[in-house]
């Protein structure tokens, strides 16, 4: 029985960590319209920094890394989050100043690959391709619990972080910054014509997303106890993108739903396929990825807005000023209907025939 409970708690940890990742990605892609394909390098930096600040000084006989210290528990998480923020700030100058559309997407992918290669090829940095191992779990000796209750304790930590992230994102979406970001996503030049600083608005979204990714990385490494380049690749990032597309772009609850559907339901439940005949662990893993790919394609075709689409926003003041009447309850006005994010549904280009 406790096996099942332990497994369910494991899924809980993944769910909340991916919630955090999905919320951050929702902010940068769903709201701000930043085409970042390689969201996982921020997770990696968060994880590495949280690991080296927990592990203590580097012992080059076992594994070598920089900045080895050992600080009290919640601090490594904060260091991880700060690492994500700092990485975002630096990379934001590359990604956000001039690059748009496909170029932006390609360069994010390329920069992530450069980081991956540099980390892997420099054993002095974070122990190269072998990665860091033996990261102790937080407060293990303090709370002193058996495995299952400790697992529950860890789920509690991740849930707390995810809830904080959720509350924060809820505020951001409704804030003036959220409005500016949505405006930039819909039409950048209109936003800048109205005096908004497009670069810094996107940059702030990018930094917040990086912070959340760094925090998620810190949680992941404290949970897994190890982190190496083989564990972070564009494919891991694709899981986050897939989760957001399926759950619902630009919808925070959709991001959480996607974190449940893709990394937990599809990824973990396919593990229950019993091995038979030609099916082994490798083919099940392959099948899992194929399933995620096909589901993403189906969603992009049949429901590109995701299970939970972006909530329609109505601006009473705009309706009153520009149309001269109050919106009809339940029906709204043409104008306020046009204001909500129209996302890849009806634009027909000349490619049709």
């Amino acid at each position: 029985m406790s096996h099942y409970l332990y497994y369910a708690l494991t899924l809980g940890v993944y769910f909340f960590v991916y919630c955090l990742l999905g919320l951050g990605y929702n902010l940068q892609y769903g709201l701000a319209g930043i085409n970042n394909v390689a969201n996982y390098s921020f997770v990696a930096f968060g994880a590495y920094l949280a690991a080296v600040t927990t592990l203590g000084p580097s012992n080059s006989l076992v594994q070598s890394y920089i900045l080895g210290t050992s600080i009290a528990w919640p601090l490594p998480l904060l260091v991880g989050a700060a690492a994500g923020a700092l990485t975002s700030l630096v990379l934001g100058f590359i990604f956000l100043l001039r690059l748009r559309h496909q170029y932006q997407a390609i360069v994010t992918l390329v920069v992530a690959q450069v980081i991956w290669l540099l980390v892997g090829n420099n054993p002095g940095l974070f122990n190269g391709y072998n990665g860091l191992a033996g990261v102790p779990q937080p407060l293990e000796s303090v709370v002193n619990l058996a495995p299952v209750p400790y697992e529950a304790f860890f789920v509690g930590i991740t849930a707390l972080c995810a809830l904080l992230g959720f509350a924060f994102m809820r505020r951001v979406v409704r804030s003036p910054l959220g409005r500016v970001l949505r405006a930039i996503r819909e039409d950048e030049s209109v936003a800048s014509c109205f005096g908004r600083n497009v670069f810094w608005a996107q940059m702030s979204a990018f930094i917040v997303a990086g912070t959340m990714a760094g925090l998620a990385g810190g949680l992941l490494v404290e949970y897994l106890g190890a982190w190496s380049p083989s564990g972070w690749s564009p494919y891991e990032g694709f899981v986050v993108i897939a989760a957001l597309i399926i759950g619902g772009t630009a919808n925070n609850i959709g991001a959480a739903l996607g974190a449940f559907i893709v990394p937990v339901a599809i990824y973990e439940l396919t593990g229950f396929i019993p091995p038979f005949g030609p099916v082994n662990a490798q083919t099940i893993d392959a099948f899992r990825w194929i399933a995620i790919g096909i589901i993403v394609l189906l969603f992009l075709w049949f429901r590109p807005q995701g299970v939970l689409p972006e909530p329609r926003r109505r601006f009473r003041l705009v309706d009153r000023i520009l149309v001269g009447q109050e919106p009809i309850p339940g029906k709204g006005l043409f104008l306020s209907q046009k204001m909500h994010g129209s996302d890849a549904t009806s634009v027909v280009t000349d490619e049709t025939k």
């Binding site: 690959q113 993108i241 490619e351 025939k353």
Partner: protein, 295 residues
């Protein structure tokens, strides 16, 4: 000095393979405005198709290469008809198109894993003899790849420059609507572009596998960003630019190994790409003076 000359030889081979691959990638990007992240996995598919040609059809090395090219040309054609074209026709946004091709690449890669697993394979019939000219030495396979690449690229250049279809292709790349108004069958040409670029992906995938000696399910995907670097450095959507970019990237990667570790040669290529995109986004050969991809 001899290391330098030898690295020039490897640079020549890498450039030759890269030019074929980058030409296919840039054709797709320029003619259909799709950045195809599945391109690397299509190269892998070509390598495995050639493997099937060798084992099931008893083909020798070079016919197997042609077989790989043909199979991937068909695969690329079908992918375009079934997935890419419907999405483009619907006006899917550029980033979502990238996710579509990313998903296609993952599906393709793991279909290969299901059949062949995560193992390394090699072709039969690789000779180990070397062609030597001073300290410049290449295997006969590498030499054949270089000659084949030059012939294919030359043939493509003649096709685009002097044939009626080539004129239509150039017209389509410049202005799709105007081309259609002048009676160019854009849908048919798009099919042809996907056939050609698929064939180039397949052939370059097999050539890359021959050059590397062995290949696995991910080697094409690992090579893809270098292909993208060559294509964008030359000017996205510019066939001649892809060749120039391939030569620059290929030689930069191999010659850099004289001074820095070989594991960094990919970093060299990628940093070239980042600098190029930031400093000269229109590419080295900027034919039409506009961002073909930026829409």
């Amino acid at each position: 000095m001899s290391i330098f000359v030898a690295s020039l030889g490897f640079g020549l081979v890498t450039s030759a393979i890269l030019a074929l691959a980058a030409l296919g990638f840039t054709l797709q990007a320029g003619m259909t405005n799709v950045v195809n992240l599945a391109y690397g996995d299509m190269m892998t598919a070509g390598a495995f198709a050639a493997l099937v040609g060798q084992s099931a059809l008893r083909l020798s090395l070079w016919p197997a290469l042609v077989f790989g090219g043909v199979i991937v040309a068909l695969l690329s054609f079908v992918t375009n008809r079934l997935v890419i074209r419907p999405f483009v026709a619907r006006g899917t946004k550029s980033f979502q198109m990238i996710i579509v091709t990313f998903a296609l690449g993952i599906i393709l890669q793991y279909v290969i894993v299901m059949k062949w697993g995560e193992n390394f394979y090699a072709y039969r019939g690789l000779s180990l003899s070397l062609f030597k000219w001073g300290s410049f030495e290449l295997s006969y396979e590498q030499l054949t790849i270089v000659i084949m690449s030059v012939l294919l690229l030359g043939g493509f250049h003649v096709l685009v420059r002097y044939s009626r279809m080539g004129r239509a292709l150039r017209a389509m790349a410049d202005d799709k609507q105007l081309a259609r108004a002048c009676g160019v069958n854009v849908a048919r040409l798009t099919d042809i572009v996907w056939l050609i670029s698929g064939a180039l992906a397949g052939v370059s995938g097999v050539a890359l596998a021959i050059n590397a000696g062995s290949f696995n399910e991910i080697f094409g995907a690992n090579f893809m960003l270098i292909v993208v670097a060559a294509a964008i450095l030359g000017g996205a959507g510019e066939p001649n630019g892809a060749m120039v970019g391939a030569v620059v990237v290929g030689f930069a990667m191999e010659v850099s190994t004289v001074w820095i570790a070989g594991s960094y040669s990919e970093v060299v290529a990628l940093i070239l790409l980042i600098v190029a995109v930031l400093v000269r986004p229109q590419g080295l050969v900027a034919g039409r003076g506009k961002w073909v991809l930026a829409q």
